[in-house]
């Protein structure tokens, strides 16, 4: 009788542990409730094992152990946990009993272990002036943190030691590393300096007293949010620690870490996780069993890292081989929902893959919430993708067969034709009918002919020199003349040369120069600047020019420039140079027999002033429209290298390249010759003159005058802007530019 009532008492408000397939039950019996005087405050314990046949837990007779010591304790709290007893090398159920003194000023902690002989024996005791929630770990060791420090007590070498871990740590996580000698460790954030930014994750092995880099277990951002963790494996390879661990965070995730890297995450359905256990279900793999505050439990497959099942209203969850079948099961004890039954009567044993025993549940079937709809969805998606990939393979095969068939048919046809002597007739593409409807006017043709007429040199008896000018660009001098040529007499091989004129030696020396010829439009007084903003068809512009100069039909203007290094001029100490124009004149443009006569013409003198600045009018203000600016532009065109690119984008229109060059690259339009855009950021080495001519929305031509490096830089940024499928081809063998659109002043 006594036994029975006692047993009921024990199982009424139990603390449960599982060990070797059995459930061990602890309970604290307060002194006040003891009816007979000899029985003071005590802890009773018993064990229960599952019997398959009756689908019940069979309870063994409980025992009670008095926990005296303090006369009266205001409050007693017990926590139980299984931990490895290092000395005895067995896993032992441990009970940590906390007793608060009546005033609440001191707390007495005692750790009891359950021995083999089923006796609850005191292990060690200690007193603290504050309350703590200690964790019982291997040793048995009790760990707790207080006021930014971590303390631990363990029975080592037969004595009780209470220590403080020498490093201040915040946000501590305790755990065990399953190394060959299990190591209890503490992880936490360690601030080297006072400021928050330099904190790092530090680990500390309690037994060996070694500190290690804790980020191999948990990366820094996770330390602060980890509510509980479980180390799955730990290895020491070449001194480096390799750790796999799972942690449940306050961000409602279960995170799998491998060597400090996040391998996978699984969103958890509940908040406030409290514990993670690992269940080995044999062939079906491992399950993480996460218990949450307020009796929620969730199981997650280790392989897929997907939620396997969830339960609510659970009072405690245990993982062990309760059936004795060699693999683990999850044992869930459910809270008594008002039913006056014994707590151990209301349970579920399952491994989520076949095994399921339940008792006291509302329905006979195991109350196993169906897997989340997300899982079904994933399965469906996987199946669907398999189906689709299969289908595509099939379709590809079919297409291939069709192509092969066609090729074979055509080959046979061709062979037949050949053998019968017939000629193979290819049908013209059906699109041809299309082009017949539309008469496409080809603008490029017009333009080509337009250019041609302009390039045709005109005849003159004697070219008339309009102006002689020079510029100094870095270490070079550019000399230029603007000529008026009678177009009735063609001139060819036009070039300039520079002669030094020294006082000492009477023979002038020719300086090596490079000449360039640029055609200019004849001056027309009525030209307006509006032409620069409104791009008109070339043919229209051409007509306008002719119309405006009816008198000068047979004169044309030409700029000849020569560039030379400054050093020979400076070496010879010459400040004044003569500029000579060379050209070849032919009386009859069409008679090839008439021998050309080379002519040399003295154009004038230039005074070299090396102080003259390269910062010319043009660079200061490209909006100006003076002769000087025009000369500056000609000088630039002479000095700078030139590339022309054909840009073709077959399936994507180019958009507003001109606008991009101006807006994004920051080029300014040269008003003297609006076809050019000037980019001048820092000094002459970064100078770029750009010309953009859009042929169709899908094609255009870009001319770049700059140093090679600048050109490449510009092309690089242009390519990033252009459509991906665009091709940029350098145009070779293009005639030198004729400055046809240079606005005359």
């Amino acid at each position: 009788m006594m036994e029975g009532s006692h047993s009921e008492e024990l199982y009424r408000n139990p603390h449960l542990l599982s060990l070797s397939g059995k459930i061990i039950v602890f309970n604290h019996t307060p002194a006040s409730c003891a009816k007979d005087g000899d029985r003071g405050e005590s802890i009773s314990h018993g064990h229960a094992s599952f019997e398959r046949a009756s689908c019940r837990f069979l309870k063994a007779a409980p025992r009670a152990v008095a926990i005296g010591g303090m006369k009266t304790s205001a409050h007693v709290d017990i926590r139980c946990k299984c931990a490895v007893d290092v000395q005895r090398r067995v896993t032992t159920p441990c009970v940590l009993v906390t007793r608060r003194s009546e005033k609440g000023a001191s707390f007495r902690y005692s750790l009891l272990t359950l021995s083999r002989s089923n006796r609850l024996e005191p292990c060690f005791e200690f007193t603290l002036p504050y309350e703590m929630k200690g964790s019982v770990l291997r040793g048995p060791t009790v760990l707790w943190s207080h006021a930014g420090h971590v303390f631990y007590t363990s029975l080592q070498a037969g004595e009780v030691r209470q220590r403080q871990i020498p490093l201040p740590l915040s946000h501590c996580v305790f755990g065990e590393l399953p190394l060959h000698r299990g190591q209890v460790f503490v992880l936490g954030l360690h601030n080297e300096c006072e400021d928050q930014t330099t904190s790092r994750v530090l680990g500390y092995m309690v037994e060996s007293g070694q500190a290690f880099d804790g980020s191999v277990v948990l990366p820094l951002p996770y330390v602060g949010i980890t509510r509980c963790m479980l180390v799955l494996s730990a290895d020491k390879e070449d001194g480096a620690l390799k750790v796999a661990a799972v942690a449940a965070t306050s961000h409602q995730q279960l995170v799998y870490f491998q060597n400090g890297n996040v391998k996978d995450t699984c969103p958890l359905p509940f908040q406030l996780p409290e514990d993670i256990q690992l269940a080995n279900t044999g062939r079906n793999g491992f399950l993480f069993v996460i218990s949450f505050h307020q009796g929620h439990v969730c199981a997650v497959w280790k392989e897929t890292f997907q939620i396997a099942s969830c339960w609510s209203g659970v009072s405690s969850v245990h993982v062990d081989d309760f059936l004795g079948c060699g693999t683990d099961q999850i044992l869930l004890f459910f809270r008594d929902g008002g039913v006056k039954g014994l707590p151990l009567d209301h349970f579920l044993i399952t491994d989520l893959c076949g095994i399921s025993y339940s008792h006291g549940q509302d329905t006979a079937a195991p109350k196993q919430t169906s897997p989340l709809p997300e899982n079904n969805l994933l399965t469906l998606q996987a199946l669907e993708s398999r189906l689709q990939s299969g289908l595509t393979v099939l379709q590809e095969l079919q297409r291939e067969v069709r192509v092969k068939d066609r090729v074979v048919q055509q080959s046979v046809q061709a062979l037949n034709d050949v053998s019968s002597g017939r000629e193979l007739v290819l049908t013209p593409p059906e699109q041809e009918g299309l082009s017949a409807l539309w008469d496409s006017d080809d603008e490029s043709n017009d333009e080509a002919s337009d250019d041609k007429t302009q390039d045709m040199p005109a005849v003159s008896s004697n070219p008339q020199i309009d102006k002689l000018w020079h510029r100094i660009a870095e270490d070079r001098i550019v000399v230029g003349v603007i000529l008026m040529i009678d177009s009735s007499v063609p001139v060819a091989s036009v070039s300039l040369s520079i002669l030094t004129e020294t006082g000492q030696s009477s023979t002038p020396a020719v300086i090596q120069t490079q000449s360039q010829v640029l055609w200019l439009p004849t001056p027309c007084p009525s030209s307006s600047s509006s032409a620069s903003t409104l791009p008109e068809p070339a043919a229209k512009r051409c007509r306008q020019r002719i119309a405006s100069t009816p008198n000068d039909l047979n004169t044309c203007r030409m700029a000849v420039t020569a560039v030379s290094r400054l050093t020979p001029l400076l070496n010879s100490g010459c400040v004044k140079c003569r500029v000579m124009l060379h050209y070849v004149q032919r009386q009859d443009a069409f008679s090839l027999l008439s021998s050309p006569t080379p002519v040399v013409l003295h154009c004038g003198q230039v005074a070299v002033d090396i102080r003259s600045d390269f910062q010319t009018q043009l660079l200061k203000n490209p909006k100006l429209k003076t002769d000087e600016v025009k000369e500056d532009l000609l000088c630039l065109l002479t000095v700078l290298d030139r590339w022309v690119f054909h840009i073709d984008s077959p399936d994507h229109s180019l958009g507003d390249i001109d606008g991009w060059i101006q807006k994004i690259v920051g080029c300014k339009r040269v008003d003297v010759s609006p076809q050019y855009l000037l980019f001048d950021s820092a000094g002459p080495s970064a100078l770029i003159l750009l010309g953009w001519r859009q042929i169709t929305p899908f094609q255009g031509e870009l001319s770049v005058h700059s140093s090679q490096l600048q050109m490449l830089k510009f092309l690089d940024s242009l390519l990033a802007y252009l459509p991906v499928s665009c091709s940029v081809q350098p145009v070779k063998d293009k005639n030198l530019p004729s400055v046809t659109h240079l606005c005359p002043c």
């Binding site: 949010i225 961000h251 994507h652 229109s653």
Partner: protein, 604 residues
């Protein structure tokens, strides 16, 4: 080892690996789904830790990638949720909590609070995705109010790109994105312009639409979309009564993208509107051959862009503009036009092609764009083809086709049929009953028309006895129909109209045949009855006069002829099927000769 960067680097690597894998074969649906779930997984990882300023760039990049995946799969609600949550999380660091009643207000707040932060460009990239979602869900008003184009203009123009490449220079492991945001902006801008143009056009704001489209024409865009811009401009111009300019635009569209069939279709409609029949027929012929091209079936833009224009351009008004009838319907139109406008033999060929195409079991190569103007039903096509054959004087072939129609309908012909007034038919009346009645009626009319055509064929062959025979069969069929009410209004195209016309034509045919065999009384009876049923029947009128003349009732004859000449010939026939038109193949009376006779008769 500094921890956050290490974790960050790993995640950036993971993101970049995924992006690279994505780019290898981004077109396969399964691959897309896989990538999507992987990006979601990565996003869970990055969002599993407390927000950290160093992580924002990565996090928003992953959000961008995951959102692109979701949007491309039309999972707009998921993408929207992802977007707003991610931005809220990022803004937790700036201690701003953008709570706003609606999305535009939310975005305004967000943009205000990130304007000078390091992740401004990331947020702008996400805004582009929001834009894409708004566009895909046809929320043009929101886009317009938000002035999105100007907001993200800098990104479109490539400013951000420079910064990005600079950043790339510094650290090789900046998080990559699955699509270049600048390209996305380009696409969004052109698509928005197109959608807006279509919307305005449907709201009769053609000139506004046109100016918007003109601006859009200089935007960088895929070829197909440039063609759409030209096409829409053409539609605007055609709405503004500038058919020639519209034609120019359609031409440009077709030049830009040779697959832009709708431009050709629209040009054809303009030619039809202008009354340029030859050009219309030419356009129809081209349209048909283009629709038969296998290349036209493949959407040209499928692979070039992750965001297909079809995803972004889903407005009703645009798709109705892009609608092109099926190849068969075009072929039917072509055949009809040819037959009506003096290209009878060509028309006949097209009709025969059409019938062959309808008969061939596998209709591969026949593209069903949309059956906007429905094809007539098969017996009607047979009859039209028969009429065309008769016009081409191939009466044997015509008779064969008519036999086909008669043999299929003969068994189903009703003994008696009551024709109801469609006006009186109430909605409540069961549809199927009326449909059945209509079907019977149609069947009867088809058979009648087939007999009529056969009668004409015999007339053409001068086999008067057979002709009388067939016209009689037609008349016998037609008299099975009783009108419910006697004073029903004969409406163009209605069953009653067809019935009366058939009656008139068959009686006229029989009357003419009787005239030829000199049965003048029977002839006069039939011709008068014919004129009663179908007063505008020119043949009946003229022949009636002739019979009266021969019977010596010359004054009556003259009156009859004069009355007939006063009819506007064939005015009402335009909308009628080919087989209900008056045949030009029978024995003819020369009007000149008749007038001569009247003159000889002298004034009465």
């Amino acid at each position: 080892m500094y921890q956050p960067t290490c974790l960050l680097n790993t995640w950036v690597q993971e993101n970049n690996e995924l992006v690279k894998k994505w780019k290898v074969r981004s077109r396969a649906q399964t691959h897309l789904r896989w990538c999507s779930s992987e990006f979601y997984k990565l996003l869970r990882k990055t969002q599993g830790v407390p927000p950290h300023p160093d992580h924002v760039h990565l996090e928003l990049s992953v959000v961008y990638n995951a959102c692109v995946c979701a949007t491309v799969q039309s999972q707009f609600t998921e993408a929207q949720l992802l977007l707003t949550q991610a931005i809220q999380r990022a803004l937790q660091m700036t201690s701003d909590d953008p709570v706003a009643p609606d999305l535009p207000a939310f975005w305004r707040k967000v943009l205000r609070s990130v304007v000078n932060t390091a992740f401004n460009s990331c947020v702008l990239d996400l805004l582009c995705l929001q834009w894409a979602m708004w566009l895909a869900t046809c929320q043009l008003k929101t886009i317009q109010e938000f002035k999105l184009s100007s907001l993200v203009e800098t990104r479109g123009a490539g400013v951000g790109d420079d910064k990005r490449s600079e950043a790339r220079g510094k650290t090789s492991d900046a998080p990559l994105l699955v699509t270049d945001p600048r390209r996305l902006v380009e696409l969004l801008q052109i698509c928005t312009s197109i959608a807006q143009g279509a919307e305005r056009l449907s709201e009769d704001q053609s000139s506004e639409a046109l100016s918007g489209l003109q601006k859009a024409s200089s935007l960088p865009a895929p070829r197909t979309l440039v063609a759409y811009v030209h096409l829409l401009s053409g539609s605007c111009l055609s709405h503004m009564n500038c058919p020639q300019m519209a034609l120019q635009c359609y031409r440009k569209a077709l030049e830009t993208d040779s697959c832009c069939v709708c431009a050709l279709y629209q040009s054809m409609l303009i030619y039809r509107q202008l009354g340029n029949t030859q050009a219309e027929i030419q356009a129809l012929r081209l349209l048909h051959s283009m629709l038969m091209l296998p290349s036209a079936t493949v959407p040209a833009l499928a692979g070039t862009h992750l965001f297909s224009p079809s995803l972004l351009l889903c407005s009703q008004s645009l798709s109705s503009l892009l609608l092109v009838p099926s190849a068969l319907s075009v072929l039917h139109n072509l055949a009809l036009k040819c037959a009506l406008h003096g290209r009878v033999s060509e028309g006949v060929e097209h009709y025969l092609d059409l019938l062959a195409a309808l008969h061939s079991e596998d209709q591969h190569g026949v593209r069903v764009y949309a059956e906007a103007p429905r094809l007539p039903r098969l017996p009607e096509l047979y009859l039209e083809a028969g009429a065309a054959l008769l016009m081409a004087r191939r009466s044997a072939d015509c008779m064969a086709l008519c036999n086909e129609v008669i043999s299929t309908t003969l068994e189903l012909l009703p003994e008696r049929l009551v024709l109801e007034d469609p006006e009186e038919r109430s909605e409540a009346e069961t549809r199927d009953v009326t449909a059945e009645g209509e079907d019977k009626m149609a069947m009867l009319l088809w058979a009648g028309a087939a007999y009529l055509l056969q009668g004409h064929c015999h007339t053409h062959l001068k086999d008067w006895k057979q002709a009388v025979n067939h016209f009689t069969r037609c008349i016998n069929l037609l008299v099975k129909v009783r009108c419910k009410k006697t004073d029903m209004v004969v409406k163009q195209g209605s069953d009653l109209c067809v019935l009366q016309r058939l009656k008139g034509l068959s009686l006229a045919g029989r009357g003419i045949a009787f005239t030829q065999t000199n049965h003048l009384r029977e002839a006069l009876r039939d011709l008068l009855l014919s004129l009663q049923a179908f007063p505008e029947c020119v043949g009946a009128g003229l022949w009636c006069g002739e019979v009266l003349w021969r019977l010596g009732r010359r004054q009556e004859a003259v009156a009859c002829w004069e009355k007939t000449w006063s009819f506007t010939t064939q005015s009402s026939a335009e909308g009628l099927p080919l087989y209900l038109r008056e045949p030009q193949s029978g024995p003819l009376l020369d009007s000149k000769e008749l007038r001569h006779r009247i003159q000889e008769l002298g004034p009465t």
